[in-house]
């Protein structure tokens, strides 16, 4: 058996952390795109679409992410599709983050005063024009800080994909622990790497909130 130096442990963890980063980015962008579609369904004119979007959010916010991962991993297999861990992980995280992002953004659109809708309607704007020129420019300003804040949840959510066998930072932590028998050091490092990924995001979310709020108040 070869000996592991502290540097060996850290190096292996950092190599695995790349996959945490990749999976986070894919899930966040994919979830964002799906979230936009859901958002337009939720605030749109069609009742069926509104109801669908509402229950979608209820379902994904009311069940554990871990269960969603299990269902994606084992459930799709039921239909004879062989799902690799990375695909199940990506899909589940995209669906999960779409639900949360949609709910965040809906709050931001709701925060725009009703008069803005009425004013733009009285100028003869159609629904898409109202959205494009009046509502979204204001809503996006409110939406940026909580959206950046949610990206922290996505990074932390990727840790669960280790349970269905996707090798990222947490899984690497377990593997390295099994090889070195130094759980204290290894999980300490794992926690620090997650912290290094997440802390800048949550700090910038706070800073953005302060900045954009000030701008908002000066209007």
């Amino acid at each position: 058996m070869s000996d592991f130096s502290t540097w060996d442990i850290l190096r292996n963890l950092l190599l695995a952390a790349r996959w945490t980063v990749v999976l986070s980015i894919v899930s966040f962008i994919g979830g964002g795109l799906l979230g936009i579609v859901l958002l337009f369904m939720r605030i749109g004119k069609f009742k069926a679409a509104r109801i669908f979007a509402r229950y979608y959010v209820e379902l994904f916010q009311g069940t554990p992410l871990l269960m969603q991962l299990f269902l994606a991993f084992f459930g799709l297999g039921l239909f004879g599709i062989n799902v690799p861990a990375w695909l199940a992980a990506g899909l589940a995280l995209i669906f999960w983050s779409a639900a949360f992002l949609m709910e965040i953004w809906r709050g931001c659109v709701d925060a725009i005063a009703k008069g803005q809708w009425e004013a733009s309607a009285s100028l003869g704007m159609g629904y898409l024009q109202q959205m494009r020129y009046v509502i979204l420019p204001q809503a996006i300003r409110i939406a940026v800080p909580p959206t950046v804040g949610f990206s922290v949840q996505v990074v932390k959510g990727t840790a669960l994909t280790s349970i269905i066998g996707f090798v990222e930072l947490s899984k690497a932590g377990t593997i390295v622990t099994n090889a070195t028998f130094q759980p204290f050091t290894v999980y300490g490092f794992v926690a620090l790497i997650y912290f290094a990924l997440c802390w800048p995001l949550s700090k910038s979310s706070q800073v953005l909130e302060r900045k954009l709020n000030v701008a908002h108040r000066n209007h």
């Binding site: 009311g62 554990p64 459930g75 039921l78 959510g157 669960l160 932590g173 759980p183 999980y187």
Partner: protein, 217 residues
């Protein structure tokens, strides 16, 4: 089929443990959160950075890693915990940090006059906090706090990974006995959904009891 499996006991035990974790985590965690929120917003100067470090560390690392650190990491310092104790501690520490930030927002939204009014009645800062500030602060952030408790309840699914026999553990157990993965996980997911809905109703009920006056629908 000539044989039949009965997993009612496993599932009921799983539900009981998930509920137990949520109740302990909720009560002790929110208490810890109130303490930390007080320390962070109004506490002595030297305590504030320590509490801030605790909050930032917990809020920026995954629950699963915290759990693994407590269960697998701490024994090498001589502190051995069984899986249920470790799960409970992790829940409390996690919810403590999140609820502290939420409650702090409620405290900071308190008008200055409330503090001054308390002081002018010769209340000590702690008395002012206890009798004047705390309840309206909690009322202000109760919806956010309820959501956080639900999120932590759903997050408790991870404790199955250290072999605490919660609901997810039960579904893994059934899956490994029957190879009926989809059925097992689908059923469990529905139970979680039901628990989440019940918990939201319970939090609303608790809110109605604690904040009887000026209750808004």
């Amino acid at each position: 089929m000539a044989y039949q499996f009965d997993f009612t006991d496993v599932i009921l035990k799983g539900i009981a443990i998930t509920v137990e974790l949520t109740i302990v985590g909720g009560l002790v965690g929110v208490s810890l959160g109130i303490l930390c929120a007080w320390a962070r917003a109004l506490g002595p100067k030297w305590v504030r950075p320590i509490v801030a470090a605790y909050l930032e560390l917990i809020r920026n690392t995954p629950f699963m890693i915290q759990l693994f650190f407590i269960f697998f990491g701490l024994p090498s310092t001589g502190l051995h915990l069984n899986e249920l104790v470790a799960a409970n501690i992790a829940m409390v520490i996690n919810l403590g940090a999140y609820s502290a930030e939420i409650i702090r927002a409620g405290i900071q939204a308190t008008p200055r006059g409330q503090f001054e009014a308390g002081a002018s009645l010769a209340m000590s800062p702690i008395q002012t906090f206890r009798h004047v500030i705390l309840v309206p602060s909690l009322q202000r952030i109760w919806p956010a706090l309820s959501s956080q408790v639900i999120i932590v309840m759903l997050g408790s699914a991870v404790v199955s990974q250290i072999a605490a026999e919660d609901l997810t553990f039960a579904s893994n157990f059934i899956q490994s006995r029957t190879f009926r993965a989809f059925e097992a996980y689908f059923l469990t997911t529905l139970v979680y959904l039901l628990l989440a809905i019940l918990l939201r109703a319970a939090m609303r009920g608790i809110g109605a009891i604690i904040f009887p006056r000026r209750r808004r629908a």
